[in-house]
Symmetry: C2
Subunit: 346 residues, 2 copies
């Protein structure tokens, strides 16, 4: 892997700041307090890691890493129990962690793999925590290698002088693409809609881009089309919570309308992809999560209207493939109409 990758990442996305294991505790970077405070939630048992995940201390790729390290805590406890109780103790911990994100099948699948590693260590009579820790570090480094491969394709799409629109917090692949492009001497300018109601654009993306030394401006979620009409934006990039096999991009609400207005202004839209789920063939296979309307009636704890007013809060939207210029993966930049045959992404 590229040893300088970590230097190109902002605080929030460095591997040790997402979550790490230290002296019998899991430290989780607290994204709820960022950018005002750079602090960690310290957890010394599985239950407190589970609660931290449920309380949205971390998000994106964070919960999986935190949950893996929680299994190290469980492995330490298991070694102090009679041999016959060890596996059931580990399984109980796994079940509790899976419960934190009932709809996130990726977390469940990753915990299953961690349990398999522990079962093998049990059978082989190896140290449970040491074996698991080594495996986690290896997995995490492999993930960062994939980020780097993806980001090299992302950076190749960014040209000197580009104004770049994004949405929400596109995380490591996007930030690393910017960092790589800037290292190549490309001058970029980023526009980040604030992303109501949680303000990921204002709180996470803008400070992270700023930290890389790349000019960034927050705009309102109601402003991308006008900024596009001014000719200030040449490319639009987002992450994707899910991409269907037929090329529909599911991402934070607002991604779709930016894609429409980018297309209207002749600006291409690219989505970063972390893998494809063979169980999500098309738009019909997606259920868009609707969250509590009350979340839309506040902004950082302040009411934005009176409580008796109703609100509607779909958390994600779906961008059809004809608005997507390319899907950026670790294996290349693909057409959204050509995903189902790329089984290396399954």
């Amino acid at each position: 892997m590229d040893p300088t990758i970590d230097e190109l990442l902002p605080f929030l996305l460095r591997r040790e700041n997402v979550a790490r294991y230290e002296d019998g505790a899991v430290l989780i970077g607290d994204r709820r307090k960022y950018p005002w405070e750079k602090v960690f939630v310290r957890c010394t048992d599985v239950e407190s890691v589970a609660c931290a995940i449920e309380d949205m201390v971390t998000q994106g790729g964070g919960p999986s890493i935190a949950a893996w390290y929680a299994m190290v805590l469980a492995a330490r406890e298991a070694e102090n129990r009679p041999p016959t109780q060890r596996l059931s103790h580990l399984k109980k911990a796994q079940a509790r962690l899976v419960d934190t994100r009932p709809t996130n099948t990726a977390l469940a699948r990753r915990l299953e793999r961690a349990l398999a590693v522990l079962e093998q260590a049990l059978a082989d009579g190896q140290s449970l925590p040491e074996t698991l820790l080594a495996w986690i570090e290896q997995q995490r480094d492999r993930t960062y290698d994939d980020y780097a491969a993806t980001a090299r394709y992302g950076a190749s799409l960014m040209a000197d002088g580009d104004g770049i629109l994004t949405m929400c917090f596109a995380e490591t692949a996007f930030l690393l693409s910017l960092g790589l492009a800037a290292r190549e001497g490309k001058r970029l300018r980023v526009f980040t809609p604030e992303t109501r109601p949680y303000l990921q654009g204002a709180r996470l993306t803008a400070p992270s881009v700023h930290e890389l030394g790349i000019p960034v401006q927050i705009i309102g979620d109601n402003m991308p089309a006008f900024v596009l009409s001014q000719g200030k934006i040449q490319k639009y990039f987002t992450a994707a919570d899910l991409i269907t096999l037929d090329g529909h991009v599911v991402n934070k609400i607002g991604t779709f309308q930016n894609a429409i207005t980018a297309h209207y202004h002749g600006v291409p839209y690219f989505a970063f992809c972390w893998g494809l789920d063979p169980n999500r063939p098309d738009r019909a296979s997606i259920v868009v999560e609707e969250r509590d309307p009350a979340e839309l009636r506040t902004c950082r704890g302040q009411l934005t209207t009176i409580p008796e007013i109703d609100a509607y809060y779909p958390a994600f939207d779906i961008t059809p493939p004809h608005l997507v210029a390319g899907i950026i993966t670790k294996a290349g930049i693909f057409s959204p109409y050509d995903l189902k045959d790329h089984t290396e992404l399954f």
Copy 2:
């Protein structure tokens, strides 16, 4: 005029709640505190009315009405002065009030008309405050007649079962259109984007529509396209700060991107028009006001990011005529391509 018009209006838009004259004082409805409080700022001299306008106590049609009533206060003071000083006292008051909105030529023109009325009363030896008060009431009632005429055209465009998208606070013509349509038995449902950073959609539009008994939901400024894709919206209506003679609609930022995404989904966009300015022939004659970026870094006083992050805040945008299905005026619903010959709107 239709005597029941006032009953169809929500609290915020009733003529006595915008601004009124009472016992030697001007009472101005405080839109900064609405919807949490329904209170008035009480002003007993011209200076305090001017400060209230500068402090954004009222907006839209409010500043003109408040400034007219401030001239009644000035007229009362003038009558206590020697006859030779009366006109200069009135002119000084007028100048102070014009200064409150240096770019709002409508306010300056309206104050000029009020001064002409006072000069005539001086020449005729009539009571200055009584003459002006009678004239203001007449002008105000005529404006509400125009609102009603416009709203009848607006209501005619609303069909039973329609989902209606709006933006910012489209004020009297829009609310009255909804009220008239509902009185005719049409079942409507309104979606109002919150309109960052000042939240006019959440604070003013949603409570006003709710007060009419019409179902309304706040959505994020990032959500209109997705709600359109769900088939929940059949029409899109906004006010217009300005419409050029060649049909470009200038309105609160976000209006344009909603018009693009409405057009993408086959949903027509209609703008309410209060008159045309012969000095604004086309897009090139418009300068979009850019406001202090700091305003975008807060929401009701709460910071949304760290202060060192830059922001960009264009306050208005421009929707080209090919995205506008019709301009709703007191004289009818016109094509945006057919405005320059409607001199009755100049």
